[in-house]
Symmetry: C2
Subunit: 330 residues, 2 copies
């Protein structure tokens, strides 16, 4: 008999592992049913329901050399919460599907749950169910529901010529953080902040709640980079843009990183999870003032046009082609 | 320049692949928004929402030697639809997260969508969004929402001593089908049917709709095998059982398969996706009659007791330990 306590998921087995996870994720209140039945039973208080799913794969979306379990759990939750925020929505419930190699340590799983639950607590999301299977690499799929803050969700498709194009926070920091991790830079304070933006990004849920009070015509979150995500918004709205490169809010910490061009990172780097949106020009100042309460700056970077898509001298298309895609051959 | 048409997902790239998928999954009607924004926007017509997620991993949950893309798509959809059915629910919308090796052929993806959409059509589920990432093996996560057929969902926890324990259809067929595939049995008609139960299982959505008209006290779907799933239901209800082995509906096609014991497969084999439920004894006949319209038999296999859990001479626990777990060491 092996009296040693189990240390890997293979040693405890699937059913016991599910019990361990379930004991961590909390119990439903009121009339809801969370983990432990065939499905969760939720009571959304809204006629409109937002639903999204995000997949993170080890070696593709995160490198286990830099990401501990807590970082993976946090980021998986944050990515879906950011999708809900990008509809001017409020996330409420999530289910989590985990693919785990048999040799995964229980300590990793525990850290993962720490990070997942920390992020869930930060954005008031209940983890209400999930699934676990063995896999060759760690995969995490977070599927999340939420509801619009105001009556209806803000789509990508409502931008009109003349609207201002705005973005929260600063751009390029998450990509610079990844660069710093890969090049094993000495961890100064600004480098630490950049690494934090890569490993523990902030979903702009609180900011979306405030922006819901304004006439936002279209919105998306910056997950694949400003150029790529701006193009998505413009495509959906069938409009163009004229962005002033001098106005793009480049993360000031990037100057601590030698190598990459800060402006290029701000335009092509992904995973900042800032909100990119269009709004009537005369509402920009009031929206920026209102966001002040969160400490998150708001920057108008250009205007929506009927045709043509430019960031300064270059076309959006040229910038977009520098962006980042998972599956493409190098 | 390479003028050859792309044949793998790596050759088309992530964004183009997402476009290809989106073109297949259909356009929202009414006020809903499906694929193409940060989240789907749904308008559920019920105060209660059911939410579930199911993960299938190549090499663990399916073997690509037997499963073509269409089988994987069908089964992933069916597994989640079965979860919703097991709440006496009606599935409505799903999102799909796909992990794909770079070398995956576009033909595989096309077949996957065929199977996924066939199953979605069968059970009236709209595919409203998804995510794609590269991965070492194929992984599919289907997350699904639905609503209870009657006012409230049927949980696992409502079984009371004296209730009849019933199961739809027949058991063991999916496990026998897997055995037939692995042993490369000659494909006779009964073997083909068993293989069909393994590759293209039926979610009992129509049956759940009929059962919603009766006083079902507790329900679960048989995904991990009768013994394991019955124990889940009994645990949730804090009751026991006395199952008559002579009443367990063993799939008659299993007799065409030499080797495994048909009764053992019926009790321990998973993935039949039949509904296992408890109901007041005097309603069993009427429920069976009502189900007749679907062609699916209903069998009372035993009764709920206060304590003790038996299938004939053996304890449920002994049977359960023969069941199947993904992550456990052999």
């Amino acid at each position: 008999m092996d009296e040693r306590a189990p240390t890997t998921v293979a040693e405890v087995g699937e059913l016991k592992l599910i019990e361990l996870v379930r004991a961590r994720v909390g119990v439903a209140h009121g009339t809801e049913v969370w983990a432990g039945d065939d499905t969760a039973v939720l009571t959304p208080q809204s006629p409109a329901l937002l639903l999204t799913t995000d997949l993170l794969v080890e070696g593709i979306d995160f490198d286990a050399a830099y990401y501990n379990g807590g970082d993976v759990g946090w980021k998986a939750l944050a990515a879906s919460a950011s999708d809900i925020a990008a509809m001017c929505g409020r996330p409420s419930h999530a289910v989590v599907a985990l693919g785990l190699p048999a040799a995964t340590s229980l300590q990793w799983v525990d850290q993962f749950l720490d990070g997942l639950l920390d992020a869930a607590g930060r954005w008031a999301v209940a983890i209400v169910g999930g699934d676990i299977s063995a896999a060759q690499e760690i995969t995490v799929t977070v599927s999340m529901v939420g509801r619009p803050r105001s009556g209806s969700a803000v789509l990508r498709s409502g931008a009109r010529p003349g609207d201002s194009i705005c973005v929260t926070g600063a751009l390029g920091g998450a990509a610079a953080g990844l660069f710093a991790l890969r090049s094993r830079m000495p961890q100064t304070e600004p480098v630490d902040r950049l690494i934090g933006r890569q490993l523990r990004p902030t979903a702009r849920v609180a900011e979306a709640a405030i922006l819901a009070g304004f006439e936002i015509s279209a919105m998306i979150d910056v997950s694949d980079g400003l150029a790529v995500d701006l193009e998505h918004l413009l495509d959906a709205s069938d409009v163009g843009c004229n962005v002033d490169p001098g106005l793009v809010p480049v993360d000031p910490d990037i100057s601590a990183v030698e190598g990459p061009n800060p402006f290029e990172l701000a335009v092509t780097g992904g995973e900042d999870f800032e909100l990119l949106f269009t709004i009537q020009e005369d509402q920009v100042e009031a929206a920026a003032d209102a966001l002040g309460a969160t400490g998150t700056p708001l920057t108008a970077i250009g205007i929506v046009t009927s045709t043509g898509r430019r960031i300064g001298e270059r076309s959006l298309d040229e910038w977009r082609q520098q962006g980042w895609e998972h599956l493409r051959n190098p």
